[in-house]
């Protein structure tokens, strides 16, 4: 008899629980009307950023292209008059991109960065191939103050190029080609 009573009590608890939830506000986020604020480091649409002086950060080193597991990044390097490298063209195929963020990790100049903007879908798959002018933005992204040329190859209080502990002297890259 007591087990029957327990069974009925258990049933009643279950029904009370569901009834209680009827009067709670739904936890659903109705997407197009409400867009959840995403964390700054969410990995979605890729941008090419500029340094604080407004110059392109990308030095066309191909590291992002090499790191990309799906080979969706391609570019062509070129040199400016001051012998600094830049990308003559830069292309990301977002139809292929898996948003893993390895390009961002590989980038030595903080040029390529992922942003939380994810609404990039298109009816035509070729519209997902972004060229340099589509990727380039006029801000520094997540790393606003960083300027690669202020840190690379300059004299610090430890020493200049090749003077750090266990560091070899710089070599002329043109001379050690195979």
């Amino acid at each position: 008899m007591s087990s029957a009573f327990e069974a009925v009590a258990a049933l009643a608890t279950g029904f009370a629980t569901t009834l209680k939830h009827l009067f709670r506000k739904p936890i659903t986020e109705a997407y197009p009307e409400y867009k959840r604020p995403l964390p700054a480091r969410t990995r979605a649409r890729i941008i090419l950023t500029r340094d604080p002086d407004g110059n392109e950060r990308c030095v066309a080193c191909y590291l992002c292209s090499a790191a990309c597991p799906v080979s969706c990044i391609s570019m062509q390097s070129a040199q400016k008059e001051n012998n600094r490298r830049y990308a003559a063209w830069f292309r990301i195929n977002f139809a292929r991109c898996i948003y893993c963020g390895l390009c961002e990790e590989a980038c030595p100049t903080s040029a390529i960065q992922l942003t939380p903007m994810f609404e990039t879908c298109e009816r035509d798959i070729l519209k997902l191939v972004y060229e340099k002018e589509d990727l380039l933005v006029d801000h520094g992204g997540k790393d606003k103050e960083y300027n690669f040329y202020r840190y690379a190859g300059i004299v610090t209080d430890i020493g200049a190029k090749g003077e750090h502990i266990k560091e070899d002297k710089p070599v002329n890259v043109k001379s050690n080609l195979p």
Binding site: G14, T18, L19, H21, R24, P26, I27, T28, A30
Partner: protein, 327 residues
């Protein structure tokens, strides 16, 4: 001349009830989805029209224009017939449900029921038993193991629960002294039978849910074990007919619960048809609430509940009711 007018009135009644049933079935799907969603703190469909009110229409159009596939290995004729059996038996059951008392139009007395069979209750059971064929044949004719398993489960479950469903209504027949649904409603003029037959009421509701294959008893379609059970292979409007049958069945069971236990169309102030409608919706909403709360029974639990609890309880209830009526 007289019979022609009678015939026309009959056709009008048929049309109104058919359209009403199909329309309510379509919107019952929406009510179920919305209410179930709220019980699970979600919104439910809210994109097609205001509050998702156009969702049933969108669903219907989708079902209609979808390809109607028949598997290569299926038994074609039976495969195509089975959904119709489910839908039609569910619709036929409503023929004996009284929607109100007699009304008078132009000096003619028109009963608000399609047919007042003197064996209405038996007709309901006959139709309910025929509905098993739709499930069993649909599952068998698909020629797929999951469908067959679903069909077998459906047949076993529905036949088992038919018994307790029938036995739970014997006390009602004893009280009303008639098999006619009109007479049963008339016998509840003073008080609804749920007050004197609470045990019957509980047994009837549980058996009725098992008959309509709703969630604690949805073993024939068990999504996570059998795909979709007996209607795995169906698509398009043939699947739609199974679906329609299920929701019409839900309304029929609401109506039958109202007729047998809640006083049918009787109620104060509001018109009789509206009272019946309110009772149908009330029973449906309670069924949805049960769906949101209880998990699916295991197969042996299902059989144990039917044969070891409901049938003996119904039999004891009959004996006690008989003893009280004799005194």
């Amino acid at each position: 001349m007289d019979w022609i007018i009678g015939f026309i009135f009959l056709l009008i009644k048929l049309l109104v009830i058919l359209v009403g049933l199909l329309l309510v079935a379509a919107y019952l799907v929406l009510v179920e989805r919305k209410f179930l969603a709220r019980l699970q703190i979600r919104y439910g469909p809210n994109r097609a029209g205001k509050f998702g009110l156009l969702q049933p229409i969108a669903d219907t159009i989708k079902m209609m224009v979808k390809e109607d596939t028949v598997p290569e290995a299926a038994e074609h004729a039976i495969f195509k017939l089975a959904p119709a059996v489910v839908a039609f038996t569910a619709l036929f059951m409503f023929a004996v449900v009284p929607l109100g008392g007699d009304i008078t139009i132009g000096g003619r007395k028109i009963p608000l029921v399609i047919v007042d069979l003197n064996v209405g209750l038996l007709f309901v059971f006959a139709m309910s038993a025929l509905g098993v064929y739709g499930v069993a044949l649909g599952g068998w004719a698909s020629n797929s193991k999951y469908s067959l398993l679903g069909g077998i489960r459906g047949a076993a479950q529905m036949i088992s629960y038919e018994l307790s469903l029938g036995l739970s209504l014997v006390p009602i027949v004893m009280l009303a002294r008639s098999f006619s649904l009109v007479d049963i409603v008339n016998a509840q003029a003073d008080y609804p039978f749920v007050l004197v037959q609470p045990v019957s009421f509980v047994i009837f509701i549980i058996s009725a849910m098992a008959e309509s294959k709703r969630i604690p008893f949805d073993l024939p379609e068990a999504e996570n074990e059998l795909g979709a059970g007996y209607h795995t292979e169906y698509s398009g409007m043939r699947f739609g007919l199974f679906f329609l049958g299920e929701y019409v069945h839900m309304q029929v069971l609401g109506a039958l619960t109202a007729v047998f236990f809640l006083g049918g169309w009787r109620g104060p102030l509001l018109p009789p048809v509206l009272w019946l409608f309110i009772k149908i919706i009330l029973v449906s909403v309670i069924m949805i609430w049960i769906r949101a709360t209880l998990p699916r029974l295991r197969y042996d639990q299902l059989m144990a509940l039917g044969w070891k609890v409901l049938v003996p309880a119904a039999l004891i209830n009959i004996v006690i009711t008989g003893a009280i009526l004799l005194m």
